[in-house]
Structures are given as structure tokens and as C-alpha cells.
């Protein structure tokens, strides 16, 4: 160091100077912090020691109860929560449900001895990042540690959590750069889309009502959801002919334009009204009612809109609360039938929709009509 505290390059070799400058300007990566929750003390001891040896030398704290874990999360910032399900008083599902609400940025992994499929489904419904059974072999332990590394790495580099499009872009780029052949299935609520890769090129994409580049744009517009990689389909007919870089650039441009339009309230209102009228013209639809705010209702074809709106809100709220109380997760759409029509209820954030469909529709027609309507309404 020179007298003024700055690096005096005349005192250092060029190589040493460059290295020193690099060290000075590169931000120090914070130590990852892991919270391990299990009511088995021996398990906590063993796994804490295992995790401390990980590259990155994470700081590992432990909690024997759900209450203690929640208190520790309130008091300090963690990057990853590893949580058992089977615990007294406050079980893992309760902890995870509270964590999802209060600490949405926290990565979560269930680590349990329970093998039943229903627990896995419920955990993913709550929104955990990963559900693993407690390792019993060296291979499983290795996989567990790799998953921990992956989650910590994802937390460190992904920026805002929950913006699925960013992680989705990463996954797509990874498939392309690795010259992979696969099918990526992406789900967001009732919406599902697929992207086909062949030797690192994107050859096709579909959603319920779109194909090709338009479907690709739609999938990338989803802000959160789940995805899985399926076996390749080499015989798939090609509908996308642009390179993946061009496709991603063009999609990003389109999404930016859409976002700019959506920020204009007048434009949003106009689109909303137009879209409801358009939805009401769909074949098989008898009525549509949408509640957009606590007291705001729009409807087409409903005789007593206010009463139906109130019933819609109360029913959606009621079963949402039931799901929270019994730890069933968030309900998907609800459906029923009268002697004259089918009725479907769905919720998106603080909005709810009630659809009346012709009684004569076959079950498959109902499913397709509802999926299409909800897709359009959600967008």
C-alpha cells in the first residue's frame, strides 16, 4: 500500500498489481446460512457436521422444534431451510406454510423419512423447492449434498426468487448449450406448456392454444410455476426455425413491450372488459362472473350477479381457509352442477371467477373449455 492507502503500482509487479486490484474490486460472496430443523438430536448433529464440510463452508444452525425454527428465521437471515415433516406440536407442513408466507425468498427442502406420495404432493403444493427422503446410502447422501449446493447456488445467483422466467431462461440455455435433446414441461396452475429440444436446438413449443414461437413467448411470460425434463421426442415436427439466442432475444423484447402496456391502467382496464365479453362468447358458456376487488363485480349472463358474486367470494375463501387449516394446500378450481348447468369456480390472487357452462357438454369438453377460459382470463 502507498502512503495514501491506495495500491501503489510502482511497488508491485504487474501481475501482483492486477491480482490485488481484482481482489479489491470483486465483492466478497457472503457465507451461506443453513437452518436445519428436526426433532432428532442425533440427526441434527450428524447432518450439521456433514454440511459444515461443504464447499463454501456454510454456517449451519439447528432447531429441534418448528417453533424454534420460526423464531430463528425471524431473528436472522438464512439462505436455505432443511426441514423434517414429522415433528411434535408444529409439524413440518405448518413450518413450511408459514415460511412460504413470511420468508418467500428462502429456499426450502423437505428432508423426511416419510415415503408416502401424499406428503410429497402436499409439500410441493405448499411451494417447497425440493422434497427428499433422508439418505440411507452413500449415493443418496452424495445426491443430497449436491442438491444443497444447487439450492444455495440458485439462491445466490438467481436474483429475485419466484420469477420463474429467469430460472426458466437459465434452464433453456443450459439445454441448448449442452446440445441436449429433451422435452421441457412447464406448468403454471392450470396452464401447461412444452418446449422440445433436439441436439441443443429449440424445435417446437406448445401451450393449450398456441404453437411455435408464440407458445414459447407465452411460456416465458409465466412468472412462476414448476417444470420437469421429459425424455426426448426426436420425431417431433419442427415449428421453430430460429436459433435459441434469437428466440430468447425476440421473446424478451416482446415481453418488455407487453409489460410496458400493462403498466398503463387505462389500457389494462380496456383489455379486461374486452376480454370478459370475449370469454362470454365462447361456445358452451352460459354466464361468466368475475370479482376483481372486494366489492367490484363484472358479469355476463347472470341474473342476480351480486348474490352470485358474494357466493363466489365466500366459497373460494371458505375452501382456501379449509385447505390452510387442514394443511391440504391451496385448492385448484372448484366445480359443481345444478340440474341446468355446470358451475366452475377459480381464484387468481385477489380475483375469483364463476363460470356457468351448458349441462349438455361432455366432461372432456368441459375440461377443455374451462382450461381455455381460465388461460385467457388469467392472461
Amino acid at each position: 500500500m502507498g502512503a495514501n492507502g491506495r495500491l501503489d503500482k510502482t511497488l508491485l509487479s504487474p501481475k501482483a498489481y492486477r491480482r490485488s486490484m481484482s481482489e479489491m474490486t470483486q465483492p466478497e460472496r457472503p457465507t451461506p446460512r443453513i437452518l436445519l430443523v428436526d426433532d432428532d438430536r442425533e440427526f441434527l448433529r450428524v447432518y450439521r457436521e456433514l454440511l459444515l464440510k461443504q464447499p463454501g463452508q456454510p454456517e449451519v444452525r439447528t432447531a429441534e422444534t418448528g417453533q424454534r425454527a420460526l423464531a430463528m428465521l425471524e431473528a436472522g437471515q438464512f439462505d436455505l431451510l432443511l426441514c423434517d415433516l414429522k415433528m411434535a406440536k408444529v409439524d413440518g407442513f405448518q413450518v413450511l406454510a408459514i415460511v412460504r408466507r413470511k420468508h418467500p425468498q428462502l429456499r426450502t427442502m423437505v428432508l423426511t423419512g416419510l415415503a408416502e406420495e401424499q406428503f410429497r404432493a402436499r409439500a410441493y403444493a405448499i411451494g417447497v423447492d425440493l422434497f427428499l427422503q433422508k439418505p440411507t446410502t452413500p449415493e443418496e447422501t452424495k445426491l443430497f449434498l449436491e442438491c444443497v449446493e444447487s439450492l444455495l447456488g440458485a439462491g445466490a445467483t438467481a436474483g429475485f426468487r419466484g420469477i420463474q422466467s429467469k430460472a426458466l431462461v437459465d434452464i433453456i440455455q443450459l439445454e441448448c448449450l449442452s446440445l441436449s435433446s429433451s422435452v421441457l414441461r412447464v406448468s403454471q396452475g392450470v396452464q401447461e406448456g412444452r418446449i422440445w429440444f433436439l441436439s441443443g436446438e429449440i424445435i417446437d413449443a406448445t401451450t393449450a392454444d398456441l404453437v411455435g414461437a408464440r407458445a414459447f413467448e407465452r411460456i416465458l411470460s409465466w412468472k412462476n410455476g414448476t417444470f420437469e425434463v421429459l425424455p426426448p421426442e426426436p420425431e417431433r415436427t419442427r415449428t421453430v426455425f430460429s436459433s435459441y439466442q434469437t428466440l430468447l432475444l425476440e421473446t424478451a423484447h416482446v415481453l418488455d413491450e407487453i409489460q410496458a402496456e400493462q403498466l398503463d391502467p387505462a389500457h389494462t382496464e380496456m383489455l379486461r372488459k374486452a376480454s370478459l365479453a370475449e370469454l362470454a362468447r365462447t361456445q358452451g358458456v352460459e354466464f361468466i362472473l368475475a370479482t376483481t376487488k372486494p366489492d367490484a363485480t363484472e358479469s355476463w349472463g347472470v341474473e342476480n350477479a351480486e348474490k352470485v358474486a358474494e357466493w363466489t367470494r365466500r366459497t373460494v375463501e371458505r375452501f382456501q381457509t379449509l385447505g390452510e387449516n387442514l394443511k391440504l394446500g391451496v385448492p385448484g378450481q372448484m366445480d359443481g352442477s345444478t340440474t341446468q348447468r355446470h358451475v366452475v369456480l377459480a381464484r387468481r390472487g385477489d380475483r375469483a371467477i364463476c363460470l356457468g357452462l351448458q349441462r349438455a357438454l361432455a366432461p372432456e369438453q368441459i375440461r377443455q373449455t374451462v382450461n381455455t377460459l381460465l388461460l385467457k382470463w388469467a392472461s
Binding site: 414429522k86 401424499q118 406428503f119 402436499r122 342476480n304 387442514l326 366445480d335
Partner: protein, 99 residues
């Protein structure tokens, strides 16, 4: 006896196991018959029954007299039939991949 308990190993309580079964309720929400396992807490069955009966009742008041209602959670499907005030309720656990 209470003193001895402090040395007993604390036992973990299993998370709520979702049942498969059927139960009927009258218009007051009281369970009149059930095939649900005893391990499923009665209080939980009552909560489900209350939600279902209230939904049917309010639907009738809104001139949408539902004859049946299905609510699908990630791990459980609740299917109910109106019985003129009461209801018969089916609980069907679901696994991943099911519609």
C-alpha cells in the same frame, strides 16, 4: 406419573394422514354415518362438512342450487352430493400426476 414422563422420549406426531372414505351429514352439519378411519380426527371431518353444507346452502340462496360439488386440493379431492340440506361427502386422496 407425570414425573416419569420427563424421561420419556418425545414422540413425533405424524402429519395429518389424508383419509379415503365417505361420510354423510344432516342439514345441521352433524355426521350421521361414516366410513372414515378412526385415525382421521373428527374435528377435521366436521370442518369439511361445515364448508360443504354452507356452500350448498348459500348456492341455493343465490339461485344456483348445486346438486354436487367437487373441490380439488393437491393431495385430496372432496366430492359432495347435496341431500336436500344434508350432504354425502367423499374424500379421495390424490397423488402427483393425477388430474
Amino acid at each position: 406419573m407425570g414425573l416419569l414422563n420427563i424421561f420419556a422420549r418425545r414422540r413425533s406426531r405424524l402429519p395429518l394422514q389424508l383419509p379415503v372414505g365417505t361420510f354423510t351429514v344432516n342439514k345441521l352439519g352433524a355426521i350421521t354415518a361414516s366410513t372414515l378411519p378412526r385415525s382421521f380426527p373428527l374435528q377435521c371431518a366436521h370442518e369439511i362438512a361445515e364448508a360443504v353444507v354452507a356452500t350448498f346452502k348459500e348456492a341455493r340462496a343465490s339461485r344456483l342450487p348445486l346438486a354436487e360439488l367437487n373441490v380439488t386440493y393437491p393431495g385430496l379431492k372432496v366430492a359432495a352430493r347435496d341431500l336436500g340440506g344434508g350432504a354425502i361427502i367423499f374424500l379421495l386422496p390424490r397423488t402427483m400426476g393425477q388430474n
